[in-house]
Symmetry: C2
Subunit: 288 residues, 2 copies
């Protein structure tokens, strides 16, 4: 049986509701889809774009790029408008604009697709050898806030894994991630959890912290039903005058590759780990 | 001295001309920017988008995603219209639409940027060990045409390199590439040459050929002046019912990472290598 699109669990995660024609949707910027500072979390923008593309085409997401243009504040109502650019027998191409009171917040382009029977199937990469989620403690992301505001991490649990082998390049940041409440993985859920490349760029540079994402680009594979944990393999690639690029690969615990992607960011919020230890002694939580 | 933007060499490669306000540009679909079948080559669409974004912002390209919506035929005139979505002190966000007679051919989103003095600088990946361009013979791309039509490869030379080491995953396709006539590498030139992921997906699957790119997403590093050869390290990642994803890393011969990217494609044009040997005996050139 084909899954219902849009998926009810995605609507619940994002607080998203659609007009009857499925070309328009909206959500309120509440704490559970916000950044730690209350702004619009990039993962929310790309996840909502994925759901909007799937809804208007009645197909699963194949790839999406979301450009982050402006932010919004807690309580804002955010509108999504989808434009179908081309419809093929198996692939549809879509553009989504996210606005708040007609102010552009983000633009997404992407394709949804129905797999072609007898078409090419395969996976050509191997998952890194890491410790399982059960062997790792939950990570606390973002500078600790004394008011208990947790933003989107109300909905997401992250656990940093340890790598089994050394490699020639800077090691990736490997994190297990799941939605709280036993919700299973969907393309939108991956998009919601995987907006984490800036932290990996900081790590690759020997620093702690992150930056402001400029965009996120994700490409989806076949996602098993009822999968809870995913592994985010995050790599910093390079930085040029504060602007930096990195990649993400997303795996199931059985080693199936379910998404790949890339992200650029403005790396403005980093500290030296030595400096950070001082902050920790003040009772502040790690930024990433 | 800062480079002139748009770069005259890019305008020459693409046959691109701008209106005085730099928000609009156009080029004719001639053989030298076409696919082997005379259609619009994806690398041309993304390269022209890069030049359009740079021109309207007077900054170098940082990242770009181009969604390929429709094709065009030899002799068509293609218009580009750029919309600046947001301008920051160091980063500008742009959307470009490519049309032919008001028919949408492609949409590009991306950022241009001015490096921030004292901002993060670094490279966190290592180039694979490959044979230099001088040790490899030119590759002939595309099925040979008896009429001598070469499309964009009139302007680009490719040489397949050999890898120095084995790895656990399927080996990447590694190709040296340069513009003919001694022109040096620019972001647009990389975009023009690097639209080659489908061939790497076919290789990873043990097949020969390629497919129709759905999009291309590229992120640029610091590109040395007067660099001629670049190495394309191309990897197939996965395929789901004929729709597949892959990545590209672009290196100079000194091992500087100058671009990274990802691409999705519909893998429709592949043959088994055994079957292909028969075609070769008929005097046909390899598809990739």
């Amino acid at each position: 049986m084909a899954e219902q699109i849009p998926r009810p669990a995605d609507l619940e995660t994002l607080g998203l509701s659609f007009d009857e024609d499925l070309h328009h949707a909206r959500f309120d910027l509440t704490a559970r889809v916000a950044r730690h500072d209350g702004g619009l979390y990039g993962g929310t923008a790309i996840a909502a774009s994925v759901v909007a593309m799937e809804a208007v085409t009645n197909r699963g997401a194949l790839w999406v790029t979301t450009q982050y243009v402006a932010t919004a504040k807690l309580g804002d109502s955010i509108e999504l408008a989808s434009e179908v650019l081309a419809t093929g027998r198996k692939v549809t191409q879509v553009l989504v604009r996210g606005t708040q009171d007609q102010r552009l917040l983000f633009v997404s382009v992407g394709s949804t697709a129905t797999p072609r029977e007898g078409g090419l199937e395969g996976q050509y990469l191997v998952m890194p050898n890491v410790t399982p989620p059960e062997d790792n403690d939950p990570m606390i992301l973002g500078f600790g806030r004394s008011d208990g505001f947790r933003g989107f991490t109300e909905q997401v649990e992250y656990r940093q894994a340890r790598l089994g082998e050394k490699e020639e390049s800077a090691p990736p940041l490997v994190m297990w991630s799941r939605l709280r409440g036993g919700r299973s993985v969907t393309p939108a859920a991956i998009a919601f959890m995987a907006d984490m490349v800036p932290g990996a760029i900081a790590r690759a540079a020997g620093l702690i912290g992150g930056g402001a994402s400029l965009d996120n680009s994700l490409r989806f594979g076949r996602i098993p039903r009822d999968e809870e944990w995913i592994l985010l393999e995050l790599r910093g690639q390079m930085a040029i005058g504060s602007h930096a690029h990195g990649s993400v690969k997303v795996w199931t615990r059985d080693g199936a590759l379910v998404a790949v992607g890339g992200q650029s960011a403005n790396m403005m919020n980093m500290v030296d780990p030595k400096e950070f230890e001082g902050w920790e002694s003040l009772g502040m939580a790690p930024p990433l």
